[in-house]
Symmetry: C2
Subunit: 217 residues, 2 copies
């Protein structure tokens, strides 16, 4: 059986979350870099991997495919300490995976994407509205982390990895991270985990065309 | 032990999803209506239930609380046929719960909310952009449902309930549902499930103030 493959993009923190988990669990996964700004997610081949044309996508050895970073984290961490078996703990992990994708990502990673690629100018009306949303979601996360070492329970889980992904680059979107001391301390705890790695790069400047889908654009 | 409580709002399809599951599994859950446009999610009491100030929130008999509709569905359906135990099936359910909250909800339910409450006018630039996103996500769902009876596997699961929530009112946001025949047939299959119920109402017109949070607004 071949190793599973991760269809990946270096600047995407959704993809980085999976790279981080793979490193921490020491999994054998082949990395396939996809240049989203060269149209490589717009091909028929990529559509067969993921009709939504997003990265990351995990392709298993038996060719089953799985999009959605949170679902990939869940699949790869199942039966590991990073996704405890307890039902209530799993429900809490799921809660934070949903919050991260629906609320935190648009207001941090979505803003970073649009500013770095030149879709929005800093200080423009849409950027200001998204910045305000970013402050709100980071305030929620900061309040949650007051008195807690990790997002769910007492140990490091994929909920931490999921939330770390875009939070750790939120300063690149101009968000005022000094205002969130509990987030700051938690980011440092994530960095201190065994086999931590970080290879995220910024999006290319003025990469205005290529991904081509309005829902991600 | 008292019954669990659902903090609920009739026009919210995130809340309706949970009401539908409760009806279908015949669970004993007390419904507590929260008037989001009268500031009832902005009180200190509500904050202690859910700092993000959204509905629905499930309060268990032992006072533990759970926000996020997808996590509530998961918790309540665990050990029922609506959330099969098989690991890969659960991963697929999770994939669609994430897609629904991150992609489908903003482009359907988010548009419906803003049009019905008078935040946006139909045909305005933000409404047109969101409409285009709605067409894309419904196209993805329609393509997925071609040749499938249900969203995951061969049986009705909480992935169907989650996606049904805002899809079944997407026409209220002006989305062209006649263009999505596989979605249409699937909506009818959901309606045909045992103990199906539907008590969703529109948002009140011109409800311009009240929820008060930029990330939901």
């Amino acid at each position: 059986m071949p190793a599973p493959r991760l269809y990946d993009y270096a600047a995407s923190c959704n993809a980085y979350k999976v790279r981080l988990l793979i490193a921490q669990l020491e999994l054998d996964v082949e990395r396939v870099e996809v240049d989203i700004f060269a149209g490589e997610t717009l091909t028929d081949d990529f559509r067969s991997l993921n009709p939504a044309r997003t990265v990351p996508v995990l392709e298993l050895a038996d060719r089953r495919t799985l999009p959605e970073s949170g679902a990939i984290l869940w699949h790869l961490a199942d039966a590991s300490p990073l996704l405890p078996a307890d039902s209530w703990t799993r429900t809490q992990v799921l809660r934070w995976l949903l919050f991260e994708q629906a609320d935190l990502l648009p207001a941090t990673g979505g803003l970073r994407f649009r500013l770095q690629t030149g879709r929005w100018q800093a200080g423009s009306a849409p950027a200001q509205a998204r910045h305000a949303a970013g402050v709100e979601v980071l305030r929620l996360l900061d309040d949650h982390l007051r008195g807690r070492a990790f997002v769910v329970g007492d140990s490091y889980t994929i909920a931490d990895i999921a939330l770390y992904g875009y939070t750790h680059v939120a300063h690149e979107a101009g968000l005022p991270m000094d205002d969130f001391p509990h987030v700051d301390a938690w980011l440092a705890r994530v960095v201190g985990q065994p086999r931590y790695m970080n290879d995220v790069v910024p999006y290319p400047p003025n990469a205005r065309v290529g991904t081509g889908r309005s829902i991600y654009g």
